[in-house]
Symmetry: D2
Subunit: 429 residues, 4 copies
Amino acid sequence: MDFTLSDRETHWRDRVRDFIDREIRPRQAEHDAEAHEGARWKVLGVIEEVKAKAKAAGLWNFFMPPQSGRAHVDDSFVFEGEQLTNLEYALCAEEMGKIGWASECFNCSAPDTGNMEVFHRYGTRAQKERWLRPLMNGEIRSAFLMTEPAVASSDATNIQTSMVRAKDSGGDHYVVNGRKWWSSGVGDPRCKVAILMGKTDTAANRHTQQSMLILDMETPGVAIERMLSVYGYDHAPHGHGEVLLKDVRVPAENVLLGEGRGFEIAQGRLGPGRIHHCMRTIGVAETAIEAMAKRLLTRVAFGKRIADHSVWEQRIAKARIDIEMTRLLCLKAADMMDKAGNKAAQQEIAMIKVAAPMMALQILDDAIQAHGGGGVSQDFGLAHAWAAMRTLRFADGPDEVHNRAIARHEFGKYAALPDAVAAKDMARR
Amino acid sequence: MDFTLSDRETHWRDRVRDFIDREIRPRQAEHDAEAHEGARWKVLGVIEEVKAKAKAAGLWNFFMPPQSGRAHVDDSFVFEGEQLTNLEYALCAEEMGKIGWASECFNCSAPDTGNMEVFHRYGTRAQKERWLRPLMNGEIRSAFLMTEPAVASSDATNIQTSMVRAKDSGGDHYVVNGRKWWSSGVGDPRCKVAILMGKTDTAANRHTQQSMLILDMETPGVAIERMLSVYGYDHAPHGHGEVLLKDVRVPAENVLLGEGRGFEIAQGRLGPGRIHHCMRTIGVAETAIEAMAKRLLTRVAFGKRIADHSVWEQRIAKARIDIEMTRLLCLKAADMMDKAGNKAAQQEIAMIKVAAPMMALQILDDAIQAHGGGGVSQDFGLAHAWAAMRTLRFADGPDEVHNRAIARHEFGKYAALPDAVAAKDMARR
Amino acid sequence: MDFTLSDRETHWRDRVRDFIDREIRPRQAEHDAEAHEGARWKVLGVIEEVKAKAKAAGLWNFFMPPQSGRAHVDDSFVFEGEQLTNLEYALCAEEMGKIGWASECFNCSAPDTGNMEVFHRYGTRAQKERWLRPLMNGEIRSAFLMTEPAVASSDATNIQTSMVRAKDSGGDHYVVNGRKWWSSGVGDPRCKVAILMGKTDTAANRHTQQSMLILDMETPGVAIERMLSVYGYDHAPHGHGEVLLKDVRVPAENVLLGEGRGFEIAQGRLGPGRIHHCMRTIGVAETAIEAMAKRLLTRVAFGKRIADHSVWEQRIAKARIDIEMTRLLCLKAADMMDKAGNKAAQQEIAMIKVAAPMMALQILDDAIQAHGGGGVSQDFGLAHAWAAMRTLRFADGPDEVHNRAIARHEFGKYAALPDAVAAKDMARR
Amino acid sequence: MDFTLSDRETHWRDRVRDFIDREIRPRQAEHDAEAHEGARWKVLGVIEEVKAKAKAAGLWNFFMPPQSGRAHVDDSFVFEGEQLTNLEYALCAEEMGKIGWASECFNCSAPDTGNMEVFHRYGTRAQKERWLRPLMNGEIRSAFLMTEPAVASSDATNIQTSMVRAKDSGGDHYVVNGRKWWSSGVGDPRCKVAILMGKTDTAANRHTQQSMLILDMETPGVAIERMLSVYGYDHAPHGHGEVLLKDVRVPAENVLLGEGRGFEIAQGRLGPGRIHHCMRTIGVAETAIEAMAKRLLTRVAFGKRIADHSVWEQRIAKARIDIEMTRLLCLKAADMMDKAGNKAAQQEIAMIKVAAPMMALQILDDAIQAHGGGGVSQDFGLAHAWAAMRTLRFADGPDEVHNRAIARHEFGKYAALPDAVAAKDMARR
């Protein structure tokens, strides 16, 4: 075991950090001004400019881990650019997390990252040419249509969108009907493609009823009915849409990996994305503890700096401890993914998925309390960050479901034991 | 001791509840539609209509407790309408808390209630005629200008707005300079008057430097520079403003109670208002537990209703216990105010000020988790309620300052003891 | 509603408080010395002396609420002494809770109180003469044999002790076999009788399989196999025993209320006892906050009294708030029992059963932290009190089971709703 | 960074684990029987036997990290046996933590480990021969006399034991007077030597008033007045004593490192010991989660295994997450000590000192709740472990003091900032 960063880990982390310090952070005000003027749903010029620079600097698409190159269907598609290990990338993601719009500048933002990996693993050469190439070039964006308003989507078997295979004069296709929400990114005018989860066979067993289709967002019958708010924020210019799918015809060849394999893809898709989210979350927590500390140092109440009131010492210390522990768990999960694969790391991924947002929410909330009215306002970004973090306690599965999986794994260690234990329990008397 | 509601307590609570059920709740959609169309800062017709009905029904201004009639300066001004005890009113306030715009319909909304009480207690007959009468008629609205962005306003001695007495051709007046924020209600076009806290004598001792002035909001030099957001919500149509005061001339006779008595007024003003807030908070918590329970009953995951997953049983039970305990503490504080006066009840007021928002925030957060994506969205009002509640952990003084007061009172019980205890401590050996 | 104590409430509370101050507290050292010398399991002379005085003063058996006089079987047995309402008694119980051995001095200690009420309600005249009279005279003590080591007794249907009806030359009787533990009080040499829960009919439906028998502790086959410890304490001189019942013959007429009615008795028995426990718990919490405050006032660290470190202000304030809220809930539950009966108050009883120990444990733990090494030692009684309190989170049913009942009641409010809600949920779209 | 254990890390961890499985765990019952029969304060034969085997196996004294070899005073004393890095040792300590008496078997138990390191670093050759050699041979044991009952020892400058230099016919010596408590290990009849903290110069500045002396426990005037309990446990056969020092004459050459350097030694002494404690704590937590899981799997309530009640899934998952995070932080701190020294790692050491006991206490408490009455009893060791863990929240400094240090370090990052921040804060307007 070695807790020292390797040269390569430091190298990439520092390049990202430096790029952010030089090209992104100084343009925050410019970014905000552009975001708030005119239409809500649009492309921001400032981001496009920074993207070009990041791409030129080779800080581009480097979320894609090396093993992702082992594409299942067609591996002839070649990436340009560096591929980092999950651990190396995690350190970069923490830096990106410190500014809300940074990850997009490196073409490393959700849900595109997860979708690109799916296209790469499971797409045909034609699908890659059509969708993966422009995504990796940062020319278009994508969505992931999973969650539905009418059912508890925490249990993915509840999903109801129907995909009925049909053959008519229009050729071999699926007719899709359903309603999706929390379709993140559909507010962006460049959002051209979605990966869509639904049911192709409601008579199959629980985990093979589902399939994933590639959905061209311009297909007739696809309607973004409204945009959802997160607390009072609309998360423009990307946003989260509620999408009605009414008699949408999707070509049969758009099914990914095969009918009935939607669950399988979903599980593989989410692992790396969760690590990315979690590391960005740690970056957010670092900005929160910094803001909190600075505020406490510069305000005086009852004759001394608030930093010198011991209740705040306790909160700052707890924040620091929690950040350190959470970062280590996240990096360990990344390291396991690199060395033993996503599947072997699934317990650790579930753990960090639960732990990271909880940690950041508490620190942000304390930072908000330290700022008083300023904390909940638009001035310090803390309330905005809190609201965004809060969604992570149920996005990609609520805490309760991940905890259930962790517990079941723990109980599984003693799977053979119950009778033995019971027997011994009896024997004790 | 008797925990049964008296006939009178039940009578008023039920009248308010029935009025809300009949006149307010059914118009929620109408209210929201009107609020979201056109200008943000405006008078809502639906509220004005309901106000007229409430006034006609005698459900009007009944926040004003009987003893408030003992006006200090001039008691000739006579209220119309029923005056309830704090305890009776608290039960009504809980009902009002269940719908965000209900309390305004009864002319019982902050900050007007506190301001009206100040005018009544400390205003001259002329001031009452000019400001109190239209406020009690619901014709104008008011603001309370206290908190400042540049200092930790949790320690009110930090307040910096200067009020310099001057005499010139314009007569005897104060020249006021300063910056206030979280000036709630200034977005309403009818907001005509403010009570303003500042310093008239920075050389006086800590608690007599401050004075309160009546500020006509149309005085030259008063500028609402911007409106603040609360977790992305703007709380239109009333809102929270940042107000610049630049060389504002306020007539000397507008000082309330006397120079150097600002602290004294502030302390008296806040007691009843806190009880009102807290009881409304309990109403909010009741709506949250109801929403949570209903959601859990109607969604299924992993083969059973989510209500039957025991982790949710624990949360629901904790929510119910916390609501019951908090309500009792709030009612006890109200009862003490009625029987022994606001000053005697100040510990209990501080306690409920800390306890109620904490309780409601946790229940709302659980309810949000139960709703998943719906919880943070605009669909269920839960995120909006949470954001509003969150401000109560520092508005009118942060938890930490109230806890400090409670602790000091507790320590004060043993004020004479330290030496005795220490001696005994020694003697033990 | 009225939060002021009535004259009668004050009267009894003060009489108990004064008696404790005068007769019990001054003899603490004497009590401890006697308890620690010689045999562990014995009668303490100091308690017997105080009991005589309390009885003479009329502070005796006053736990028995008036309605308990409505005995089901035979109401000819007449109490001597005052009967207090549950609310009046609750206030006294808080005072008793401040010293561990106080309640026994008033013949008001568990498990005798609950057992006496059962004898009174369900006993025949002969049973009352034999067991209730000496119990009420404080001459003997009793046990309640419920919990079993081999099963999760939180679900009382799991109880396995078998009671087989048999008729032979020895007459009509039950043959009892089973193992009980946490049989509190069996260490006392005067423990002569127990109320025993077991199964008379394993084929009956879930809640009528159980019966309660009166068990003479000197019956052959009853063996106290060992005494259990609670965090290292043995709770001598009463203690908690593990009792083996091997072919114990119990006369058939010893069945209480009737075969198959054990569950019914158990539920009725526990209500008042829980209120007593909870109010004593509040007394414990009051001693803890007092000890904590005094300690913090008399110790100095880093240049100031620890009481002036704000982290301790927050803890003291939270402790005070929690005590006040919990006391109110407990008193409300008592008042409901008085006015509407134990059954109507069962939600409130469950709530306070969960809330009170949690509250006291946190305050004791903080007080222990404030005392450092002294806190966990034998010097301040805090660790001892904590350990005793900790058992209350599962004694008489674990928190989880009470919370389950509270939640089910809450969900029950919307029992008719699910379909309606679901329909509306659909209609929203 | 690399989260995979090295061969050497695995090797030592496995050797310790195997030795425990083979030689220690099977003798638990024998150990307990011997401990509970006869005198409380004695040498246990079973431990002595196991010690001989461990020594023979080379699993002996391996707590001493390599750099400890850089003795300040006299490095001619040579250890036998393997010296592990802190990280390697930490993994072994986790295994030892799973059984309370295991670490002593490897001569790796507190307070000897810390004392041996002090002797090694600061002792003269003669002192090493006299005290260090028999300690390292496991022939004698030692104590650390620091904490005092009369003052808040969390602030070590409060310590009052006086050490007055005197010269008389008896030679050059210190006359020591004071009272110490929580002197762990003094119950062991082999406890022959103590390291004693006191004040040699009350006029010096705050951190150079203190000195450390080597105290022969058989010196006249040293009296163990009583043994302290931890909750109801006496922690025999080692225990925690209260020691009166009355006119104790200590030879002047027994001063360690030099007069006025007591603070310096104390700080150096505690680092590695804290890591050891913390890793043992993680071992305790692992035993707790295992006991909890097994219990939940083998008990049924309300128709299903308690393991299948989701509230327990959440607790098990939280326990697993917290263990993983805490272990990583502890190992990181150990790795920093190895690579950058104890001083560089002091923030991480403080963090893990706070985090580990908190984590273990919660898991033990949940495990106790899962076991009901069994949990608090002598049957499962959970209550005993909890009580021992509870002392770690103030032993070697309370959480509050460590948190203060962590916070000050965090604030220190912005030491230069306050003015700059304040200026910017102003400029924002």
